[in-house]
Point group: C2
Chain length 417, copies 2
């Protein structure tokens, strides 16, 4: 069965009904999939197989000719920002006014969706990926770093990377290690609600990211997301010190073991900018902003295991073919002493983080912790387990065996405070 | 070399110096270990091997005859509480006034350490374990449940279980499933700082736990810990909805995806009780308190894996000999689609939780999520990954294969809201 973009359909599948407008799919490329925009604003991808009953409702939405609707201005005095898209839903929306549907990622699409952009920055867009963020693999980090390198070397004032939220903190950490001196601000941004839902955070987040990328006088990699449940402010987090801490809330991203870097005020109404501002909370000690050519160092050893300790943990998981392990211990980084011997026998780097998420690892308090240290185990200190994992992947591709511990314990990209 | 309790020693080991008072070790039973109480209040266990240089400083602290110092009163009108100790440091302290050291766990020790106890409850103590909580294994949960059963069946008004903090939330969840109708309140309590440090939270936590156990008119399993960085109030959390969220702060324990059950006010000065109180925040829907005989159902299948998904996750970890798996997906419980086929092939129960810690799992939003559900995967909904793990261990020992999904999706002990 063929579907046209904009067509209204009702689909019955697995005893559930879905009604909405067919939109171009950026995720499911196969012929047997369609993506519909439900009336509640969610996009849903459905496999049209034998179990699916499809009814065409005929009310075809017009696909607007949006290209004519907006004039892209080059405004003097505004910063020039490269916006790189990796997928995710930040720019997708049904335009209810025009009755059409858009999910491409072009400069015009973005400006149509969020017209205030033209009051903040001159943007140029590039699509470097088309993935939901749960599907992001380490190879995608390489694409992101190379895309950022390319953007920075074109001489822009800052970079914004749009990204699904699920693994955004893994990506921001990976890019932090791959480009340790970005020259200009690199800001990852996502949305917890797709941009056509009434409660969407997409516009505020993107505008705030653009504003920080254009106006902060620092280098480094950051994440920009809503500060709380209200609109109006976003927080800027260090790319190596942030974590998604809620599955659905708009303020899901939290700085871990540090303060956020800055607060961006961004108030808009009906497509007009009312108020904007940048307030430093804890300005990072990164190099000052400096436009220059950069080079991404994307070599990475992806064969690293992340294992969470728990009562009943299966010791055989430690016998891994991985080139390194990050263990999520309990509390200060404690490990059940029944596993100490197996850990001592490992001849690969073992980093110990904590599953409490917040707080530092400290293996010096108790003797078993020091036995771990004597066995060569590397405490993650105040790094999250996720940042420790990504860092170990990068370090293993850059250090000789006897240099790994030293490199893991050194602050490379703001990950240790 | 032999050491006497109370002796002051200086030990040089691994280029570090440790000076303090030798205390009886409750953890390291071997002859070559000693435990000293450092001047900062921390206990430290040290292996006295060839690398250790020991200097006896001679200033021997007197070991007091504390037994004469306190009269255990049986006060009419106060509730009768059984206090079960599993190890941990809540009752250990150096008595600087008397120059002695105590770390046994008797009613007298507890009352000596925290004299206000006698204004709150008539206690009877029992040591059911001697483990740091990182070393707690599923077998220890069985001991706890049997100890609670025994205590309840003696006719007490409530139970308090002292426990190290690292894995306390795994234990409180396990006991919640093993005794689904406790009759009287069962309260787990720990301390982030050992009780002789000036900033110790031990006294307030224990007194608050005793007060709740004695006065709350509900059954169920709870955790009692500091509310914030001040003294004066503790929070009562549901045993299945709580998690250690900081490696060192006193307010490390947080209710996840629910409000705490109650706030306990507990103000003391110089061993005297100034103010106490119980304020319900969200009274749980457990059965009302009822003194009656109970029976713990401790059967448990401990061979369950907890695997955290991440970019670069090694698919071969899914080929496990475990009888069930809990996967920590990203965001709403999403799993990288490259692993879907391997998951579909598994013929053991697979539960999907979220690594965001906060927020629910919802696999109905996107098609891949529904593919997981069609493959038999069980969403953890609003359960933490830790509670989902412990519950799956219990359910696998109690359900036929085709009943596991239904049982995991049913609220057995307040874990699903």
């Amino acid at each position: 069965m063929d579907f046209e973009t904009g067509e209204r359909v009702k689909i019955e599948k697995n005893s559930r009904n879905y009604e909405g407008i067919v939109i171009p799919s950026s995720t499911y490329e196969g012929k047997d999939y369609i993506t519909i925009k439900l009336d509640n604003g969610y996009n849903i991808g459905l496999k049209i197989d034998k179990g699916a009953k499809v009814e065409k409702l005929g009310k075809k939405a017009k696909v607007g000719k949006f290209e004519a609707d907006v004039e892209i201005k080059e405004t003097k005095g505004l910063p020039r920002i490269a916006v790189l898209s990796t997928g995710g839903t930040i720019a997708s929306r049904v335009d209810y006014t025009h009755g059409g549907v858009r999910s491409d990622f072009t400069t015009k699409d973005l400006i149509l969706a969020i017209p205030e952009i033209q009051e903040i920055a001159n943007i140029e867009t590039e699509e470097i990926g088309k993935k939901l963020s749960e599907n992001i693999d380490p190879e995608d980090w390489v694409k992101m770093a190379k895309g950022i390198e390319k953007g920075v070397n074109k001489g822009v004032d800052g970079i914004v990377v749009t990204h699904g939220t699920d693994t955004m903190h893994y990506s921001s950490a990976a890019v932090s290690f791959m480009i340790q001196n970005t020259g200009v601000p690199v800001v990852f941004v996502g949305a917890q609600r797709s941009s056509d839902r009434p409660s969407s955070d997409a516009a505020t987040n993107l505008l705030s990211a653009l504003y920080f990328a254009g106006h902060a006088d620092v280098s480094g990699v950051y994440v920009c997301m809503h500060e709380n449940m209200d609109d109006g402010t976003c927080l800027i987090h260090k790319g190596t010190k942030v974590r998604k801490m809620h599955s659905s809330r708009r303020d899901a991203f939290k700085s871990i073991n540090t303060e956020p870097v800055a607060r961006i005020t961004m108030e808009t109404r009906n497509g007009k900018l009312l108020k904007k501002g940048l307030e430093w909370i804890e300005k990072p000690k990164y190099k000052p902003k400096q436009k220059k050519k950069i080079s991404a160092d994307t070599k990475i050893e992806t064969n690293v295991a992340l294992l969470k300790m728990h009562p009943g943990f299966d010791e055989s998981l430690l016998k891994t073919k991985a080139k390194g392990i990050v263990l999520e211990g309990t509390g200060l980084g404690n490990i059940n002493e029944r596993y100490l011997k197996a850990i001592e026998k490992l001849d690969i780097p073992v980093v110990v983080a904590t599953q409490t998420v917040y707080g530092k690892v400290n293996l010096n308090v108790y003797e078993p912790g020091r036995m771990l240290i004597n066995a060569g185990v590397i405490p993650a200190n105040d790094m999250t387990a996720e940042t420790a994992l990504v860092k170990l992947m990068w370090v293993l591709a850059h250090a000789k065996k006897d240099e790994v511990k030293n490199m893991m314990s050194s602050n490379l990209a703001g990950e240790l405070e």
